[in-house]
Symmetry: C2
Subunit: 236 residues, 2 copies
């Protein structure tokens, strides 16, 4: 199995995804929130690229969620904080979500045979599912402001750790993936500290959203693995 890691959504092109399983990572906060919402019983998540797309996709019973500049969008039901997506709020609902990087990354990877969403919360489960799909894997770190974000790299490293642990044959990892695996090995005892020191983490703390960073820093606490079926993410 071959594993490639793409450093930010800007670096991705369609050719990267052909015949592969894409794992989209946006730890702060889109994929953490999507995993949390589906684990809490949301029926499905529909990633939308723009605010207008999100609004046009909404049916009467749907919720609208997401952010621009880290803030809830005017007129939307929910922002991009995992804690907003509680069972009481989301159970059985379809949720249309648009975020700056995460949902863009999902749209970029639709040429893949399979698309799944991963975060630190469901890293182990996502790796296990990717192995069942029996394709080469491309890990797409969404990044932030078109640049690499360390929390996404850390999650890529966690996924590589789990792929290597669970795979019986050889896992071939590209140079960038090897670097992210080393990053994970170095930082895994200090996950929360790393997230708080990251550019995205500092931005969220400044906006009073430190609790979100804490909520996204738990490792392997959820078994939920969102995968893309047509236009929507559902649980496997």
């Amino acid at each position: 199995m071959h594993v490639q890691v793409i450093s930010s959504v800007n670096e991705a092109c369609s050719a990267n995804f052909h015949h592969k399983t894409a794992i989209v990572i946006d730890v702060l906060r889109a994929t953490s929130t999507i995993v949390t919402a589906l684990a809490a019983g949301a029926a499905s998540i529909v990633p939308a690229e723009t605010v207008m797309d999100a609004k046009s996709l909404q049916w009467p019973e749907d919720l609208l969620g997401g952010e621009r500049f880290c803030r809830k969008i005017a007129g939307f039901d929910l922002g991009n904080s995992p804690k907003e997506y509680s069972e009481n709020t989301v159970r059985g609902r379809r949720i249309i979500v648009t975020t700056t990087n995460g949902t863009r990354a999902i749209h970029k990877s639709t040429k893949a045979d399979h698309v799944i969403a991963a975060s630190l919360l469901n890293g182990e489960a996502a790796a296990k599912y990717a192995l069942e799909l029996r394709r080469d894997v491309v890990l797409l770190c969404a990044g932030s402001h078109d640049e690499f974000a360390i929390e996404d790299g850390l999650c890529a490293g966690l996924l590589i750790e789990e792929l290597i642990k669970q795979h019986h044959d050889t896992v071939e990892v590209d140079d960038f993936g090897q670097a992210m695996h080393a990053l994970y090995r170095d930082r895994s005892p200090w996950i929360l500290r790393t997230l708080l020191q990251s550019q995205s983490g500092k931005r969220l703390v400044k906006l009073g959203l430190k609790e979100d960073v804490e909520d996204c820093a738990h490792m392997n606490t959820l078994d939920a693995v969102p995968f893309l079926l047509g236009e929507r993410l559902i649980l496997r």
Copy 2:
């Protein structure tokens, strides 16, 4: 002091370099070879972007060096192996060098206030010199085939380690730099192994150039710091 790391020459644009010190890194092999050549007494190194440029820059006493597809260029005096640039061969000579990634990276960074060349061989000395220049620093990893190369990231991590160690005030490192610093901390006990497992390292071993990889894997063995003065690299 702010430190930014660029993952490959493809990612660099002029705006990255304004008012900064650029440190260009191509561990396998251009900057390792350039450092070795100047430490062995070469008068200067002139980086050329193309084979034609190199030939047109040559004066009668000059040597021509470099590679295409990791091989010595037809009609050139020297390839891109550090061991070819011995004192006997290079003392007092101006050498025109063209390589696939390293010399391109030097040309890309000429908008910087200062440009210096670093490798694992002279990491500590290069960091010390960068601190004397009192500018924010951008580390440009040359990469290979327009992609990130782990050996360059490892060297960026070594430079960050040295900058933090030697600087008395705060060194602010961007997310990618923090990841490279973690990579260095994780891999520093196994530098040669990491280079041999890298894509570039494997390519060189296949071509019978394992000794080059070994020669480039020594850390902080040279005090030579090449810096760009006009069109040529000379020792500080």
